[in-house]
Symmetry: C2
Subunit: 218 residues, 2 copies
DNA sequence: TAGATTGTTAATCGATTAACAATC
DNA sequence: TAGATTGTTAATCGATTAACAATC
């Protein structure tokens, strides 16, 4: 029940953080919080928090603040975490295996339903109770299970081929860990990129920049 | 040799992507490119690309465009990739191991100099030629090697303790994979967060939102 | 030179912050 | 009721886009 229709990605990207903080507050037994207190903890302005929340509805009470538990649940619903969208993971290398075992997909709105790799050394192994299947099984699996999202942990050379194949199998959303941008041209595709290299380079710049600033001041 | 001093993070975060595309173009034997061509490939405006680059200098030639190879190197230098900052990784669980073996730190401006864990089952093992050391060795190691960056792959309960300890050992920058925000209060700390859960939740929202839009239209 | 494309200034757009009336 | 804090409108700030003169 959004009040507005086009919520900007800037707002959306802050919601998981709100959700996380609120769930911790709840765990710690905090029952109510004001936008000002929350803004202190998060390093944002109270104004921004109220603006963000009011994109979706008036969750607070004037003169009182927000009920932690309730607000947390509301944000969870806005994000759609209860949906448990069916996902598959393709590429059970180092990173793929780590993602499969380390992430709590359930808590983030997904169910990991299948893992695929092409290496005979990996096929048949299990990660967190899920068997690694041959990529050749993709077609059969997708027809039966109809997953809606694919985690891409394949090497960059394989990204284009595999993403197009998955598109043909009805998958319209990708969580992409490969070092290259998914190039599926179809307009109805959602891609969330996790470019670890880009993130690391950004950190490098910040370090370099700080050093330069310090140098200049001396 | 930046022309301006305060480059916004919006600009910085686009640089690694430019760098990546240009290095591919270079590999593919492309020698020159115009901002318009580049903007097509990247899904940005030509204006934005020229604005971004001109924060740092005039790297192009009027009437001609940019020399791919040269521009790529310039961006690499802006990012500081040649620095090879010394880094350590703390927490050799699933994710930590994957990061250590999967990432090419060298290409992104860093050298991975040490890996630390507290589990006796892991200490002594090697990841990509680097031995996993006991976290108790941190003090000795840091005094000797003076790393400037730490990759945090520890569970959330440990983040605060470990980050403060690393701060005391002179580390001022963190690449944080733990599900919680690094809370080091000191102002001279640089934190680059990789919140995989947040990313996944954002993807969940986008899927939910698209489904709702489709429903409304029917 | 003519054509192309940059570098840069000005205009627009969107996101954040400030202010305050509404109201619990 | 008085005090507090929201929801919301208006003001500001920053980032993106458009336009064009400079120049290769």
């Amino acid at each position: 029940m959004p009040k507005r229709d086009n919520i900007s990605m800037s707002v959306i990207r802050r919601l998981p953080r709100y959700h996380r903080f609120l769930s911790h507050l709840h765990e710690d037994g905090v029952t109510r919080i004001s936008s000002t207190e929350l803004s202190d903890k998060l390093g944002l302005t109270a104004s921004q928090i109220r603006q963000d929340l009011n994109c979706f509805g008036g969750f607070g009470q004037q003169g009182y603040g927000y009920i932690v538990d309730q607000l947390c649940k509301e944000i969870g619903e806005i994000l759609g975490l209860q949906n448990q969208y069916k996902a598959i993971l393709v590429g059970a290398g180092n990173l793929g295996q780590a993602i499969a075992s380390h992430m709590n997909f359930q808590a983030d709105g997904f169910t990991l339903a299948g893992i695929f790799d092409s290496s005979p050394f990996k096929i048949g192994n299990r990660i967190g109770g899920i068997e690694i299947l041959d990529v050749q099984e993709l077609e059969r699996f997708c027809e039966r299970e109809k997953p809606v999202m694919a985690v891409l942990c394949v090497p960059r050379e394989a990204v284009n081929e595999i993403s197009e194949r998955l598109y043909r199998l009805g998958i319209r959303s990708f969580w992409n860990f490969s070092h290259y941008d998914v190039a599926v041209q179809f307009p109805d595709v959602i891609v969330e990129n996790v470019h670890l290299n880009d993130s690391l380079m950004t950190l490098c710049y910040q370090i370099k920049n700080k050093a330069q600033q310090a140098e200049k001041e001396s």
